[in-house]
């Protein structure tokens, strides 16, 4: 048994941890929370550019997962499922944000606000901005924020989180081929945007 404490052999595989959490094992669930909270936060932060809202997404996603775990058919699908929950919560929030903005803002002001939005989330005001960042990184985060939310999610899930085309397709309700196209367009737009950034 070694020093790994009661009932926990060294490093059980994730499938076994998920299965135990499905049975209501709090220690196993805590293990999953520790594993996923940072990744989900990074995804939510890059989607929303707001520390507090990103925290809310992490909290809601993992709480929802605790309640939904017993219904998960395949333990190996946990990672994809939790990313899907978080991504969709981010997209819902962004939809609510834009609906709210449309209700409060005169249409003729939209363009100026959209431009101001790009500036507001540019690297300088980004709390995640780090001193040693290159101009390319500043450009990348700034241009990323100008992409439509679903396209941004697609790029983040693939390039920052290494999720599969199939899984991203399920999350965004598009085919894996469409994921490939969306990704190519996102890369194209970001690369173009970055070249105009400096």
């Amino acid at each position: 048994m070694g020093d790994h404490g009661p009932g926990f052999e060294p490093d059980p595989d994730e499938g076994s941890i998920v299965a135990r959490a499905q049975d209501g094992d709090l220690a196993a669930f805590e293990h999953l929370v520790l594993t996923y909270q940072y990744r989900l936060f990074r995804l939510a932060y890059r989607m929303l550019n707001d520390h507090g809202e990103a925290e809310d997404i992490v909290q809601e996603t993992l709480t929802t997962s605790w309640r939904g775990l017993p219904m998960l058919a395949d333990v190996d699908a946990f990672g994809g499922w939790i990313y899907r929950l978080a991504t969709n919560k981010c997209l819902d929030l962004l939809r609510r944000r834009s609906a709210h903005a449309e209700n409060c803002i005169r249409p003729e002001d939209m363009d100026t606000i959209a431009q101001a939005g790009v500036l507001a989330v540019s690297a300088i005001s980004d709390p995640a901005h780090e001193a040693e960042w290159s101009a390319e990184q500043d450009g990348l985060t700034a241009v990323l924020n100008t992409l439509p939310p679903a396209q941004r999610a697609c790029w983040l899930l693939r390039e920052m989180h290494g999720r599969s085309y199939a899984e991203i397709g399920v999350t965004l309700k598009i085919s894996p081929t469409a994921v490939r196209g969306t990704l190519a367009r996102a890369r194209h737009q970001i690369a173009e945007g970055m070249s105009q950034w400096r």
Binding site: S16, L26, Q37, A128, A184
Partner: protein
């Protein structure tokens, strides 16, 4: 534009193709094509910026939720914890002793952890009370010589993941023995039946 359309450069090459080959030397076409050269340079820049952002986000202390978030999640989980049904271990004039299925599972997982090459997964435990068993039903197990006492008995259904390369029948026999010893020692009720399902191999 259809969703799966890949953007193309002025020379007809797709962005995807350039992206996939930025780490290789340019082809003869690419060496002389302005569209391709520009796209290659930009996409190489994007690839490097992507890598740097991935690395810096991973280690950036500002990109972490506060510890209060995990505490709040675990608080909800604890408040809504699913401990399964309760099993009556003892009933007498001076009081009853019950145990939750969850506590029994912990005991079983603890026992299973002693067997190398086995990761316990989902576990169901039921009790068969002596009184509820119709006479004769236990005949089969009685003749095999295990758990012949007339008291209540537990039925364990355990799913596990096994390490590749282990001898499954022998390992599962050890696992069954470990669980069958741990239960009477821990809760005073024997496991009449330990059904094990190897549902997966881990680390494959």
């Amino acid at each position: 534009m259809a969703l799966d359309d890949i953007p193309r450069l002025g020379c007809g090459r797709s962005i995807d193709r350039i992206w996939a080959t930025t780490d290789r030397p340019p082809t003869a076409h690419e060496e002389h094509c302005e569209h391709c050269q520009t796209a290659r340079t930009r996409l190489q820049g994007l690839r490097e910026a992507t890598r740097l952002l991935r690395e810096s986000d991973l280690h950036n202390p500002a990109l972490k939720p506060r510890p209060a978030i995990k505490n709040a999640i675990m608080g909800v989980a604890r408040a809504e914890v699913r401990r399964g049904s309760k099993i009556l271990l003892r009933s007498a004039d001076n009081g009853t002793t019950e145990i939750t299925e969850q506590a029994l599972r912990s005991l079983i997982r603890f026992a299973a952890a002693a067997i190398p090459g086995v990761h316990s997964r989902r576990c169901r435990v039921e009790i068969r009370s002596a009184a509820a068993s119709p006479a004769g039903e236990d005949h089969a197990s009685a003749t095999t010589g295990t758990a012949t006492t007339a008291g209540p008995r537990l039925i364990v259904n355990l799913r596990v993941a096994a390490a590749p390369g282990i001898v499954i029948p022998r390992t599962m026999e050890s696992l069954r023995r470990e669980i069958s010893n741990a239960l009477p020692a821990g809760v005073g009720i024997g496991a009449g039946t330990v059904n094990i399902t190897v549902e997966d191999l881990y680390d494959v």
